[in-house]
Symmetry: C2
Subunit: 213 residues, 2 copies
Amino acid sequence: MTRLSAERRREAIIHAALAVARRKGLAATTVRDVAAEMGSSSGLIHHYFDSMDEVLAAAFERVAKEDLEQTEAMLADLGDPAAVLAEFLGSYGRVDDDWAFQLWMDAWAEAARRPVLRATSARLNLAWAALLERTIRAGVTSGVFHCTDPGGAAWRILSLVDGLALQVVAHRTTVDRADMLAWATRAAEGELGLSAGSLGNGARRADAATRPR
Amino acid sequence: MTRLSAERRREAIIHAALAVARRKGLAATTVRDVAAEMGSSSGLIHHYFDSMDEVLAAAFERVAKEDLEQTEAMLADLGDPAAVLAEFLGSYGRVDDDWAFQLWMDAWAEAARRPVLRATSARLNLAWAALLERTIRAGVTSGVFHCTDPGGAAWRILSLVDGLALQVVAHRTTVDRADMLAWATRAAEGELGLSAGSLGNGARRADAATRPR
DNA sequence: ATGGAAGTTGCGCATGTGTCCAACTTCCGG
DNA sequence: CCGGAAGTTGGACACATGCGCAACTTCCAT
């Protein structure tokens, strides 16, 4: 294996771990898988991480944070709250190509039994809700949204979309991806006092979202 | 081990599997764990179930089906759709005392890796949505609800409540139980064209639901 | 009572897991 | 150029997993 600095090697390990997790899920990601993905020996992983648990925790945090920061950057860039919200909902239309959502489900299920994981997961979920709430408030201020309870609306939209995505990813058969997007969009429009269709046609978006993230 | 009839032994295995799953989670429940819990040999489990996947599916089904049938009976008994819906939402107000919801989260996360469990989980989730849809249709027929899309509304209400309950049970800190109930109630009222408060005051209900199921 | 059926055993097998470590290779400062 | 430091190796180790199976025990119908 090509020799790397400690810093770069840690990155490479996390990167490889994510590549494997994408294929097999976080729970099924093994030391040997990661080593094979990197093209190195398995001993190398334990030279940089005390345990496999730490590798997985680092990988989970990396992914969850990345998505969040990406959306946060988007909110800063395009100031239009409606566009941000539409893009947020649209990103869920891609969850079944998206191994990240399986990661979230794993995290939620394990949270009750793993305090450290619970703290991380709770923190990131709160950040998502806060981001959504800020977006809604911005929309209310600029007059495009009408909502008396931005905090509650944020949690309702987030939870609805999580609940629908859960059906799409876990069962594949109960809820259709296009339905998920259309329903979530409709509900968001209702929450924010928008006319139907003003957040975009859900069905059309779903078609456009067949490519992976 | 004391000799049991095939029927009783299957029951005992399911019972033991649930006891283990309660402690360690569905994903971490192993053949040997279940055998130890029963005080029997591990071979016995495979004499009654073709695979561990089936054991877990049967265990999950046992718990999940019970709740469903209870609610279905309630729908038959008290014909009032609004009362059924209120009770349905109220039952979620007790999820954090309720280990059944943790089981649902375990099942959703594991569904991707265990085909039999996935099929069971999908089937039961569909049944819940169907039950909700029937309730909504009944309300529309009798004129108390107004809803143009009972199927979609059923999935939206179910998914919202699942998404909120997920926060309550997995994180304990992000969403408050009273909020969950109030928000879900408000959203349901919106879906069904009801005035605020007509499905019951969420906060009051939440107080009444501090005792376990 | 006896023989077959059915419940139960407990170990073996193949496979997979995280962790550890002594040896090897590569790099770079002196 | 050379010697120590740091990156890397690859297999050993102990343990866990699902599953299969031949032998053993218990029961009940004949």
